[in-house]
Amino acid sequence: MDNLLYVGKSIPRKDGPAKATGRAEYTVDISLPGTLTGKVLRSPYPHARILSIDTSKAQRLYGVKAVVTAADSLKIKHGFVETPRYPADQYPIAVDRVRHVGEEIVGVAAVDEYTADEALSLIEIEYEELPAVFDVEEAMKPGAPEIHPSHEMVNEPYRNIGGKTETSWGDVEEAFAQASLVREDKFYCQMRTHAYMEPQATVAYFDYSGKLNVWTSSMGVFLKRAKLARTLGLPFGSVRVLKTYVGGAFGGKIDLFNHEYIAALLSMKCHQPVKIVYSREEVFKGSRHAQPLIVELKTGVAKDGTIMAQKIRTINDSGAYRGSGVVVIFLAWGFAMAPYRVPNMQYEGYSVYTNNLVHCPQRGHGAPKMRLAAESQLDMIAEELGIDPVEIRLKNARRPGEPLPNGDSVKNFGLIECINEVAKKTDFRNKYGAGKREREKDSKIKHGIGMGVTSYFGGSLVYPNSSSVIVKLNDDASVSLITGAVDLGQGAETVLSQIVAEELGVPIEDVQVNAADTETTTVDIGSWISGLTWVTGNAAKKAAAHAMKKLLDCAAEKLNEDVNDLAVRNKEIFVKHSPDKKITYAQAVAASIAKNKGDSVIGEGHFRTMKEEPTHPSLATAKGRWTENYSCYAQVAEVEVDTETGVVKVLKATTAHDCGFPFNPMLVEGQIDGQVSMGQGQILSEELRIEKGCIINPSFLEYKIPCALDMVDTAYIDVITEKYSRDHHFNIKEVGEGYVSGTVAAVANAVYDATGVRLKQTPFSPDRVLDGLEQIQKKIGK
């Protein structure tokens, strides 16, 4: 990877100046003349039939320009997943039934917020309350209130099953019979949320030419367009989703949100721009949060700690509609089998409806929960067998080239090196057990160290994940990079610019990015599913190479040389053995245009993983390959526990990661830091508390995300397994999601090391840790 100018370098992000000066325009900043304030009336009940809606008083209120209900809607359903087996199941505006507190029923657009608020208060709705159920295990029982009929593929007498994933290989019972040690544990993972700093916001303007213009805070403009167009009954070409800066998303801004539909519907009624911005309370109460998950894990190992079999059952609370629940139960088994060798497995996952809010993906989408369970249990097994945690992980870690049960291969998998490196750097083996040794002493403050291992994947076919990029060379050889990718803050535009600048040998300042506009840019799935650098990146690389080839061919002709004898430097194409013979890029562009009678120089590139695979993997049958891109990490957390108060502090987090190679080291480090912080929050302090379907802590004051004084000291170790070369597509692995899970698992194990308290329910709030300590004291007292 020598001689690279941009790839692999810590290039400062391109949108840095715009953001640092407050000039970056987020959806909340969009302002068009005549913009109306839109507001949504939400159900106060977790489960009710709507008997009647009377909006007449609201409509007559001075300053109200439009009011919409299901009567104005085509009643076309949408869903995060829309497949034949899992069809769309949610109306974009409630028709005759509401199934969660906060479900959207009426939209109003008025001249200002006061009027909109007053209009909402004038709407009269008659409800018939229905029995509701909030606990996932209760909802499955026969006799539970039915939110939706159970999926037809479910033979068991369970109620409210939105979806099921089943897969198995080998013979688990046989393996358990032969195992030296078998452990069974159950873990409860709480509802956490993204807590992005920019609230949900949408501006919709249906103009008089019949075009719907939408600005919305999202992770993928093309997906939003498709869903909006379908639910509104508009052709795709009549819906334009434009680019805005996005103030964080972390998985919470993918699916179509009902307020986006409602804003559009309102605008279609009054032909004025309508802006809906959630209050922070509304974000907590009305938007989608991450999937609470129950993980039941039974693992059998040989005497030396080698995993022989795993039987796993996951139960997910998908909320009132399917949301992404069926995806998380599908991915969960992948997260179980990717980092370690599991020769025999039986997996079943249920996604269950409850009258809670609909849930969606959040950074890791199940991985943090599965890894918490697997890594905690592995440490417990190691302790019972008298093996150290590093040893047992090395034994089970997959090696490069190993085939996976889903038909993939882990390819260049650096997990063994990650585990060794992080253990070395943190002096793990010497520090481990410190907690136990300190326990003999009387100190109130204990220290502990723990490890968490994860594998994540990127660019997968789980969604049709393909990307197209166009590279345009302007007359002066400056470059326009056209892509549908969305920069959420992870640096997408910078990374893509790095690739194009590298391929074309132009200064990165000469690359201007035009992104994320469904009308003017190329299709891209968006910035979720952790594939941007790899999928869109490779498409960008191809596009740039395509444009470069046109230039080189032209130069070869002009200079009368073989194209293989040419090289580029400083925007000039010269002959390798006679460098004075050269032409500038601009001259080459002109020559190309002249030769092709006016056709400008455009390069196009497309990429999708595993093009020869026929289809995406089936959520229900679990058959089908996922991707060619598996990352892996070993993370170590060092914690301090105050045994008088139960408060846990994460002092240091060290991450050894195989992301292929760091495309932009500064951005990669930023991803690791952010995910360590998110992991810290998930395991220690964050919990969205819901009582009878109602979020009772809908504020930053009571939803405890870490502040600067909670900052964890972070360190990183790069394990390089791939490289970038000009000649063919590059392999790189994700950095956007996986680090949360390793952190969560490592902290859990570190808390055990420090105190002997093994918790199986997150978050590890001080009262739970204290309870655990007291129980240990009682046992000792016995």
Partner: protein
């Protein structure tokens, strides 16, 4: 709904005087964003907790969502738009960009202003001083690590500049 009388007020924002007729119940945040279209200052929670609405009042960071615009009369308000001078970014803005302290950028205006206020008062803060000063500014993207690094670097370059 009973309304109040608008009052004519004069605000000094980033060194410039503005005359506005506003109701007393408008917060400084609303007036900045809506009446003056200075949208660099962001709303994150409208509750005084997250700090994205931070502006400087006579050089000290405050939550503009909790401050009535009418009470900002006679005081100097600095927003993020007031930091850069022409094409020259403030050393702290430069440091944030160079050290990867900006990801989604939503917390950045508030964070940068809080950092500026800190360095104006204490040009050589310790890491603990920095973390305390920005403890009231939430960031969900960076984990705060590179923000602290950037602020440390920002004070060095401010010193160097002198």
């Amino acid at each position: 709904m009973k309304k109040s009388q608008k009052q004519l007020i004069s605000l000094k924002i980033n060194g410039q005087e503005y005359e506005l007729a506003i109701h007393p119940n408008r917060t400084l945040l609303e007036v900045l964003r809506e009446d003056l279209t200075l949208t660099g200052t962001k709303e994150g929670c409208d509750d005084g907790v997250c700090g994205t609405c931070t502006v400087l009042l006579n050089g000290a960071p405050i939550r503009s969502c909790l401050y009535l615009a009418i009470e900002a009369q006679g005081k100097e308000v600095t927003t993020i738009e007031g930091l850069a001078e022409g094409e020259r970014l403030h050393p702290i803005q430069q440091a944030f960009i160079e050290h990867g302290a900006i990801q989604c950028g939503y917390c950045s205006p508030g964070m940068i202003l809080t950092a500026k206020a800190l360095l104006d008062k204490n040009p050589t803060p310790t890491e603990q001083d920095i973390k305390l000063a920005i403890a009231g500014n939430f960031c969900r993207c960076t984990g705060y690590n590179k923000i602290v690094t950037a602020i440390k670097a920002g004070c060095q370059s401010a010193e160097g500049g002198q």
